[in-house]
């Protein structure tokens, strides 16, 4: 479309305004983590690294991070297995209910988290508790895996649709067994889609708070739960601020990688 100079300029201004709307609060968090004042003051009155070293030594933060990583790894592992299986079933076979399964896969993320949360909460209470499995890390992993399946599924199914079956057929024509074909042909084809899906699933799980609230038990506190529980305690302010700033910085890397990988998926190198 041929745009006038003025239209271009206006669009550029709107873009800059939108980006600053997005980034100003995040920058405030990073800057404020060095604020010397113990209670929130803006602009900062002085600068210190004290809160960063305090946060690094804080036991409850550390154990919350460990819990979150465990939950994320568990949920991602389950999501990779189940998401890939459904992706293969949907893209390689025709069967009754094939159209509805993609709807069911999306449902846990399309419905508000609180509904998934209370549904799983009451299901776990009636099924797992009599078996002696209480609420804890295990139930958190079950809950997270339910909504992580969709991101792995989406990534893998898009890749499988695009690559088709001709390479796999060629492989078995050349005498490879089913397992060899998977290891040497199919897996290399879907590997980057799997990594992208796994990164996003981990990020999704690491950040989740609502389903977590309803599936975790006493003694299990993920990092988002820790932040939420301390959000209303004024003297914990500086440490929350450091945790938030650290998370912001730590998240740049996996997001960049996932984006790069799915970018490569859209525009294959030729």
């Amino acid at each position: 479309m041929i745009l006038t100079r003025r239209a271009r300029l206006l669009l550029l201004l709107a873009t800059v305004a939108a980006l600053s709307f997005i980034y100003v609060p995040l920058i405030v968090v990073v800057v404020n983590s060095f604020n010397a004042s113990k209670v929130f003051t803006w602009p900062p009155t002085g600068w210190t690294f004290e809160w960063w070293s305090d946060a690094a030594q804080n036991q409850s933060v550390r154990s919350a991070i460990v819990t979150s990583i465990k939950a994320g790894l568990g949920a991602t592992t389950i999501a990779i297995m189940l998401g890939t299986l459904i992706a293969f079933a949907v893209s390689r076979y025709k069967w009754f209910g094939r159209e509805s399964i993609s709807f069911v896969v999306i449902l846990p993320i399309a419905l508000p988290g609180i509904i998934t949360g209370i549904a799983l909460n009451s299901a776990f209470r009636t099924v797992l508790t009599p078996l002696g499995i209480g609420f804890g890390l295990f139930t958190v992993i079950l809950g997270h895996a339910t909504f992580c399946i969709v991101v792995v599924f989406n990534n893998v199914v898009a890749r499988l649709r695009r690559t088709g079956v001709s390479l796999e057929e060629a492989s078995s024509d050349l005498g490879a067994s089913g397992f060899q074909t998977f290891r040497l042909v199919t897996f290399p084809l879907i590997r980057s889609a799997l990594i992208a899906g796994a990164l996003l699933a981990f990020a999704l799980s690491f950040d989740e708070i609502v389903v977590t609230t309803f599936t975790s038990g006493p003694g299990t506190e993920t990092l988002p739960q820790w932040i939420f529980n301390n959000l209303f305690r004024p003297n914990q302010g500086p440490i929350i601020n450091v945790v938030a700033a650290a998370l912001l910085i730590a998240f740049i890397i996996p997001v960049y990688l996932a984006q790069r990988l799915s970018e490569g998926q859209r525009a294959p190198r030729t």
Partner: protein, 337 residues
């Protein structure tokens, strides 16, 4: 295709030339070449039957293979997830013994009756819908220009990639990290007050306006990304044709771009609507004493321990979302989610 494989294996001399030929291919075919090469060292390839271990069995029984693929995911999604969802919705018709807290599994419409007749629930429901609409409008106003700029105005691939990264990054920055950030913005004597002070103004403080702005902030990437994808799908030649036929930029946008991008816009509004209806945390952080509808669900599960009432309340966001999905299905927005 199996006969072809058999024929191939009966002529051992074909092995090497085929690999050589294949290795000339580039890109995706590289994986294939690897397969061929790895099979190559066997001078006389084994008879095809040796490859029929478990995989050969599954190869001959595609139905069984499908069952093996689907068993675990189906058990998880259909039995665990849909099952517990169904039980939840059914429990909306149960009640709780107010003395012992035990579930009474006798069908009743009392929960729904209370929800409809008590004015407080109606007020909160309408307020939540209003907030959802306001959030959607704010996000649309911000998302349309930036998505259009990224998809159609930026010419270099690298700048576009950087812009998309810049938009996606906050999506993964963490809900509570952003919640905390917004708290520092809207708090009394916070960043917003500091910015507005020279103008002689004051920020809105904690309350409904802060909640609306915060939710709009949180869901913004969910609006930008589908709209960006929609703009990107519009081929430049369509826009050029419109210009060749004499349309000004404004006319082209109204008559060509907007109808084509509409399904993506609707997809974005599904996100902002559904996410706003289910949110109860942001209003606790920046909403002051105000409540949204999901707080009713939350409080009845936790504090009041009245799961049937919470389940009945859950019917409101679910039905709003389902009705909205049915209304917009014709636009084709669901494929853009």
């Amino acid at each position: 295709m199996r006969w072809l494989a058999d024929a191939f294996h009966r002529t051992p001399s074909v092995g090497r030339p085929a690999t050589a030929r294949l290795s000339k291919w580039k890109g995706d075919v590289r994986a294939m070449t690897m397969t061929a090469a790895s099979l190559d060292p066997t001078p006389a390839p084994p008879a095809p039957r040796t490859s029929s271990g478990r995989s050969g069995f599954f190869y001959r029984h595609p139905r069984l293979r499908l069952t093996a693929l689907l068993a675990a995911p189906m058990l998880w999604l259909v039995v665990l997830y849909l099952g517990s969802l169904t039980v939840l919705l059914v429990s909306a018709f149960w009640s709780v013994n107010s003395f012992t807290g035990a579930l009474i599994k006798v069908p009743t419409l009392n929960n729904f009756h209370t929800l409809v007749t008590e004015p407080v629930y109606r007020t909160v429901a309408l307020r939540t819908l209003g907030i959802a609409i306001a959030v959607t409008i704010i996000d649309l106003t911000i998302a349309l220009p930036i998505a259009f700029y990224a998809a159609k105005v930026v010419r270099t691939r690298r700048v576009r990639f950087a812009l998309i990264i810049a938009i996606t990054m906050p999506l993964w920055a963490g809900y509570l990290v952003k919640g905390f950030a917004l708290q520092t913005i809207f708090i009394n004597n916070g960043v917003l007050d500091w910015v507005l002070e020279p103008l002689g103004l004051k920020g809105p403080g904690f309350g409904i306006p802060a909640t609306i702005l915060s939710l709009a902030y949180l869901w913004l990437p969910f609006m930008i990304l589908p709209i960006y994808a929609g703009f990107e799908r519009i081929h430049d030649s369509v826009l050029e044709a419109s210009a060749d036929l004499g349309a000004q930029a404004g006319r082209t946008f109204r008559s060509i771009v907007l109808p084509l991008v509409w399904p993506s816009v609707v997809a974005g509004t599904i996100f902002t609507f559904s996410l706003t209806l289910g949110d109860y945390i942001m209003v606790k952080i920046v909403g002051g004493p105000s409540q949204m509808f999901a707080n009713i669900i939350y409080d009845n599960v936790g504090v009041a321990n009245n799961l049937p009432f919470a389940a009945a309340a859950a019917f409101f966001p679910i039905s709003v979302i389902v009705i909205y999905l049915l209304l917009v299905r014709r636009t084709g927005a669901l494929n853009d989610l």
